[in-house]
């Protein structure tokens, strides 16, 4: 039962990951790519980690996974904002 749930979580996480990557590759400009990427891969990682956490024997490891996800989430959104800001500044300079 746990195996089934964890598999569903992990596989749907991978689908989000791939959606984000394909968006990064196919969308026409930086801002729309950013849009696709930040949502998809953070959610994808979250789902993947939930799936993996169901397998962890020690609760400490599961806690660590949660911590890492929070770090990726906060860092990812801030980085994306900074990169967009940087791109805007470059455009303004030209």
């Amino acid at each position: 039962m746990i195996d089934l749930f964890s598999s569903i979580f992990m596989l749907s996480g991978i689908i989000f990951f791939l959606a984000g990557s394909i968006g990064l590759l196919r969308l026409p400009d930086l801002y729309s790519r950013l849009h696709a990427l930040t949502k998809a891969d953070n959610l994808g990682l979250g789902l993947l980690l939930v799936g993996l956490a169901l397998h962890m024997q020690q609760p400490l490891f599961a806690l660590k996974l949660l911590l890492i996800w929070l770090a990726v989430l906060a860092a990812g959104s801030a980085s994306a904002h900074l990169i967009a800001q940087h791109a805007r500044r470059q455009e303004a300079d030209q």
């Binding site: 770090a71 906060a74 860092a75 801030a78 980085s79 904002h81 900074l82 800001q85 300079d93 030209q94």
Partner: protein
């Protein structure tokens, strides 16, 4: 099933690594080369993890994917003519601009020959069965080393000379940097988003450094990884436009620069005074001594990396930090 998925990982990692190395080395633009080098470092950390070298992977993730990139980007920001538009500065970077085709191809040929000879020698090494002696020696003596992580045991006990001299190398690098010029100009004060990022990232990096230092005794981690992570915290503060990034001034700065080598040497010499040989710790005390030395080493390594990012000796503060 595991083996097949590992083959897939291996092949794709190698393709990524080689194409990033090639792109970073051959692109015309210097800034682009640095960004590709950062991606290279990131993939490299995955390669070390795949090759069962988590200690190395930790160091690569901290240094290769983060700090080296920050150092190189800071250097790019200062290149002459780069302040207006970084992308127009192609003329200096085109690699073959004033070299003849003959020279280029001779060098390429020689490098290819070197690669073939090296690969041939390396593949011979793998077939040699007698190269397990060092691994055996480590695992036999591990219980006397004071730690249970074999890499830490090698670094701080069995081959402590190496680490002592490495800390000396770091110190001389800082002294060299001090003698070459002043500190880089500071960064613009961060906007609200960057400020918010720094507010949580800096304490988390510092906590992680402490964790890595502690865990290094029995699991991957240790002074190098912890020092690099601690340095990253200070680098973030600097990038966010702060003047006060936690480095002390004057005498105290000299102390934290030298404490790694100094304490290491002191411990080594006191072993000599106790009638043992240099850096030969008594097994009962080894764990404590290693932790003390590692803490000092972490502080010195972090100070070295931060000073390298600053690019020189920090000036005395004229006004109080706000």
């Amino acid at each position: 099933m595991n083996i097949i998925s590992l083959y897939l990982v291996d092949i794709l990692l190698v393709i990524s690594l080689l194409s990033l190395a090639w792109a970073s080395l051959t692109t015309a633009d210097a800034r682009r080369s640095v960004i590709l080098f950062m991606a290279f470092g990131l993939v490299l950390a995955l390669v070390w993890a795949r090759l069962l070298a988590p200690d190395v992977a930790l160091a690569e993730a901290a240094i290769g994917a983060g700090l080296s990139g920050a150092l190189l980007l800071a250097a790019i920001g200062e290149q002459p003519g780069s302040s207006i538009n970084v992308n127009t500065d192609h003329s200096e970077d085109v690699q073959d601009s004033n070299r003849s085709v003959v020279v280029t191809w001779t060098i390429t040929g020689l490098c290819a020959a070197l690669a073939i000879i090296l690969a041939w020698t390396l593949l011979q090494t793998f077939d040699n069965v007698n190269n397990k002696a060092t691994a055996q020696a480590v695992s036999e003596n591990l219980t006397d080393s004071g730690v249970s992580n074999p890499v830490t045991a090698v670094l701080l006990n069995f081959r402590a000379y190496d680490t002592l001299l490495e800390l000396a190398v770091l110190l001389s690098a800082v002294l060299g940097i001090f003698s070459l010029g002043g500190i880089r100009s500071p960064y613009q004060l961060a906007g609200p988003v960057f400020d918010g990022l720094a507010r949580w990232l800096v304490p988390v990096l510092m906590l992680t450094a402490g964790y890595l230092l502690w865990v290094g005794a029995h699991a991957p981690g240790g002074a190098f990884q912890a020092g690099a992570t601690l340095a990253a915290a200070a680098v973030v503060l600097r990038l966010a436009g702060h003047h006060n990034i936690g480095l002390p001034q004057g005498k105290s700065l000299h102390i934290i620069m030298t404490i790694g080598v100094g304490l290491f040497l002191l411990v080594g010499l006191s072993m000599l005074a106790l009638g043992r040989s240099f850096l030969d710790y008594p097994p009962a005390l080894a764990g404590t001594l290693i932790l003390v030395i590692e803490t000092a080493a972490m502080i010195s390594i972090a100070a070295t990396l931060v000073l390298a990012f600053l690019g020189g000796r920090p000036q005395m503060q004229k006004h109080k930090p706000c």
